[in-house]
């Protein structure tokens, strides 16, 4: 039995310690905002925060998450008020939308660590997130918009 703190709530999880956090979230707890895309840490659809760091939950074992603070897209803000969520809506970024939770979670760590990200910084921070619909231009713009909003 492992205890996980997810979005400020504790959960007792009865699962193999090797189970990826992704499947704990989706299949056991029922938080499905974190997506399964590739399962091999290549696409970024499953990014969550582990003690404030962006990790790919598809390759993060339950045992590694134990005792740490996990934040998923559902816990990023209570009222969709995170500057990135607002910017995503303002610029109507999404097309199919499947990758966007992972994009936002990656961008959130970037913005926390870098208040004025350049294009290069964004390229680096977002390199692990694929969008098959090709919404990268708006993702970039939304990150820049959120950075401005954050400074206010």
């Amino acid at each position: 039995m492992a205890t996980l703190n997810i979005n400020k709530k504790n959960y007792n999880i009865d699962a193999d310690p090797d189970t990826p956090l992704l499947w704990v979230l989706r299949d056991i707890i029922g938080l499905v905002g974190t997506k399964y895309g590739c399962g091999v840490a290549q696409c970024g659809a499953c990014v969550v925060h582990l003690n404030g760091e962006a990790v790919r939950s598809c390759v993060t074992k339950l045992s590694r998450a134990e005792g740490k603070k996990v934040v998923t897209i559902e816990g990023l803000s209570e009222t969709n008020s995170h500057p990135l969520q607002k910017a995503w809506l303002e610029l109507d970024v999404s097309q199919c939308g499947y990758c966007q939770a992972g994009q936002i979670m990656s961008a959130a760590v970037l913005l926390k660590e870098n208040k004025n990200p350049t294009n290069e910084d964004i390229d680096d921070a977002m390199a692990g997130n694929i969008c098959r619909c090709g919404t990268y231009l708006r993702i970039r713009e939304a990150i820049q918009l959120a950075a401005k909003d954050q400074k206010k």
């Binding site: 590739c38 897209i73 997130n129 098959r132």
Partner: protein, 752 residues
């Protein structure tokens, strides 16, 4: 998401009337389950349905049903906008719900072929205008005033003379009983639009950015099991035997069994493509447990040999032999070269091309090739099924419910009205989810284990399953006379397993002597529609070729195309030319002007241009490329589009920008190869997808303004990106590129 709701289904059935998805005469109230996805306005008990697309609540909340499945083209916003426009309601107060599969009330419900807005434009305008008409009649009866004197605005009805006014909700019950005679309902004058042609935000935007359950993989059902399929590792292979002893000992595993998909002689429809007819299924409690159990499963595979498929069709059933060869890419390329030199099927001929080529002062001949492409939707293939003795519920991501339901009906031996299909938001589609084999698989598994089941493909299962964009080649020839005038044009194209040629498209119609031919090589590698099928190859090959011809003629590539289009407009050659030459020229002129083609300041970029017509729309791009760290990088793009009326302009721009990014990615990196039948790419680690760093910094989108009924937009901007990238790459490197994916590696020699 909602579970089975029999009362709802019964209600839908009982209210199904008339054709065209429009229900005029329905009267009465119905209890309607308001599912979670309809939003936050509480749970009103009553909804009055005016037709299949419009429901009005007593509190004046307007619910509009979206008929077509959403895969990112934003139809859940744009289609209801059309209804709301004619209904005359406030957009902000409209609730949108995805409709279930119900062809009687909601029409063809096909997402694909850039069809949604084009096909539903008139239907939805009529639906909205008819509902408004019914409300006006109801108010006229109640108030005892002439209907002509009643006006509407933003969900309200007014009679100026008497000062009477009321909400739509007050009259909805009475309106539902109004009979509408044919021809009395007139849609709005386009000039008075105030919703359509204004930018509205994605109605599911907030759910997407907050991680709400929206997709097939997110769907839950009480007692639901997870199933995964072990399909043969390569094309042309099948199951020999399997040993599940170890797999069955794994935690959470319920059953392991062999499953046949179609019985021998099953008559397949055009979208019943399935790659593997026998598979091994693992069913268990959770996804991870099933994934782990699969690792312990021992399956012996064997070559399937030549097999037979039975294809249904208007002319009756016919048998098609699927060759058993375990194919490899080198051999595929060799085979294409062999076929290219053989006689082919004549597709179109104008004038006397043979003589013109014989007498030409100069002949330019180039051969282009492109590999298989996998759709690589972000959400892997999945579907939920709950099949019992007398009915079936299926829920998940699907583009074409109307094509899959008859197949399910035959296979499950259930009448169509006992099969309920609900379409979730799709994590991408691009054509892949028009092929419903995975519903059949899920349904058969559910029936076998007698439980609700969700079938999930891993990314690897998905990428190696097939239903790819075909592998293509085409040889283009242009004949120039001594004055460097283009006197003849010849295209001969082929592919595995189909040829790419659109014989009646530009430059057909613009050249006196024209010849188009096609040939194809049968294969066991299955193919399917991939964002602008065939066009996505032709626009690469033809538009690069025209660039090279223009150069040989000493002409500017845009001016050269415009000259050909002028000819096609003023004095077209031949019949059945599919395109409107003036609209085609229009996008080229617009992109020329907006990009400042040849203006000073643009020299720092290697510029490439291309244009194409498909799905009734026109698109042209100018791409500005630089070489960065030894790799081509498209820094900015100008796009000009003519798709008639643009329903939702900002969302339409988003789609064009996405198509540009997708086009650059597939042109530069896309490709799937095989060795002995096995796909060499299995996941995103070795199938390169364009990423943030490679995306342009700017894509400026310009729409031609006209009042033509809207045509497609999901596909048309995609194909010409390939040609524009190839032409820019030539400017950047001094080298022409004939083989996709384009690469600056020195090994990339043209195949001529």
């Amino acid at each position: 998401m909602e579970k089975t709701n029999n009362s709802r289904r019964t209600f839908l059935k009982s209210s199904a009337l008339l054709g065209g998805g429009l229900m005029i005469h329905f009267t009465g109230l119905a209890n309607f389950d308001i599912s979670e996805r309809t939003g936050t306005l509480g749970t009103p008990a009553e909804l009055i349905e005016l037709n299949g697309y419009v429901k009005i609540m007593p509190d004046n909340t307007i619910k509009i049903i979206c008929p077509n499945p959403e895969f990112g083209q934003n139809v859940m916003t744009s289609l209801p906008m059309i209804v709301a426009e004619e209904l005359d309601v406030e957009w902000q107060k409209v609730l949108v719900e995805m409709g279930p599969h119900d062809s009687v009330k909601l029409g063809s419900q096909f997402t694909g072929g850039s069809n949604s807005v084009r096909m539903y434009w008139r239907i939805l305008r009529e639906a909205g205008a008819t509902a408004r008409y019914m409300l006006v009649q109801a108010a006229a009866q109640t108030w005892g005033v002439p209907a002509e004197e009643i006006t509407t605005k933003a969900g309200m009805l007014y009679h100026e003379k008497t000062g009477k006014k009321g909400k739509y909700g007050d009259f909805a019950t009475k309106a539902a009983g109004v009979t509408v005679a044919k021809g009395v309902v007139k849609p709005k004058d386009i000039k008075n639009f105030n919703i359509v042609r204004t930018s509205k935000k994605n109605v599911e935007g907030t759910k997407i950015i907050s991680g709400k359950p929206l997709f097939g993989l997110d769907y839950k059902y009480d007692g639901m099991l997870i199933a995964m399929i072990e399909h043969p590792p390569g094309f042309g292979m099948t199951v020999d035997s399997f040993d599940a002893t170890a797999a069955l000992k794994m935690p959470g595993v319920k059953e392991v069994f062999r499953q046949k998909i179609y019985e021998d002689g099953f008559e397949q429809g055009g979208f019943d493509v399935r790659t593997f007819n026998e598979v091994v299924v693992v069913v268990g409690k959770t996804t991870w447990e099933v994934m782990n159990a699969r690792k312990k499963l021992i399956v012996k595979w064997k070559p399937a040999g030549d097999t037979k498929d039975t294809m249904g069709g208007r002319g009756g059933a016919r048998e098609v032999v699927v060759p058993g060869e375990l194919e490899s890419s080198d051999a595929q390329y060799q085979k294409m070269q062999d076929f290219a030199s053989k006689p082919a099927q004549l597709l179109r001929k104008d004038g006397d091309p043979e003589t013109a080529f014989k007498n030409a002062a100069q002949v330019i001949e180039r051969t282009f090739t492109a590999p298989f492409l996998a759709h690589n939707c972000m959400e892997p293939i999945n579907f939920f099924a709950h099949v019992t003795a007398d009915k079936a519920l299926l829920v998940g991501p699907l583009q074409a419910p109307g094509w899959t339901e008859p197949t399910l009906s035959k296979i499950l031996k259930l009448p169509a009205d006992k099969i309920e299909i609900q379409m979730t938001r799709m994590g991408g589609g691009f054509g892949r989810r028009a092929y419903g084999h995975y519903l059949v698989e899920a349904a058969l598994i559910s029936k076998k284990v007698n439980a609700p089941v969700k079938l999930i493909y891993s990314k690897e299962d998905d990428m190696t399953y097939g239903i790819y964009r075909p592998m293509y080649t085409a040889t283009y020839r242009a004949a120039l006379d001594a004055d460097k005038k283009l006197i003849a044009f010849h295209v001969k194209g082929g592919g595995i397993p189909e040829h790419p040629i659109h014989a009646n498209r530009f430059p057909a119609g613009a050249v006196d002597n024209y010849l188009a031919e096609g040939w194809q090589i049968p294969s066991n590698i299955t193919v399917g529609a991939f964002r602008a099928p065939r066009s996505n190859f032709n626009a690469a090959a033809e538009q690069s070729f025209l660039d090279e011809v223009a150069e040989a003629m000493g002409k500017d590539p845009i001016e050269f195309r415009l000259e050909l289009l002028k000819r096609a407009k003023e004095n077209p050659v031949g019949k059945n030319n599919e395109y409107d030459a003036a609209r085609y020229a229009g996008v080229l002129e617009l992109v020329r002007d907006k990009s400042g083609w040849k203006n000073s300041g643009t020299e720092k970029y290697s510029r490439g241009v291309a244009a194409y017509f498909c799905h009734s729309s026109y698109a042209a791009h100018v791409v500005d490329m630089v070489i960065r760290d030894g790799e081509p990088y498209v820094k900015q793009v100008f796009s000009a589009i003519d798709c008639g009326i643009v329903v939702n302009p900002d969302a339409a721009s988003n789609m064009v920008q996405g198509a540009v990014v997708d086009g650059i990615g597939n042109a530069l990196y896309g490709g799937l190869t095989h060795k002995n039948g096995v796909s060499e790419q299995r996941n995103f680690h070795n199938y390169r997808i364009i990423r943030m760093r490679e995306a342009p910094k700017k894509v400026e989108v310009f729409f031609v303004k006209n009042d033509i009924d809207p045509t497609g937009l999901g596909e048309p901007p995609f194909p010409p990106v390939f040609g524009a990238v190839a032409n820019a790459l030539y400017k950047a490197s001094g080298q022409r590129f004939y083989k996709q994916p384009y690469s600056l590696k020195p090994t990339d020699k043209p195949i001529v």
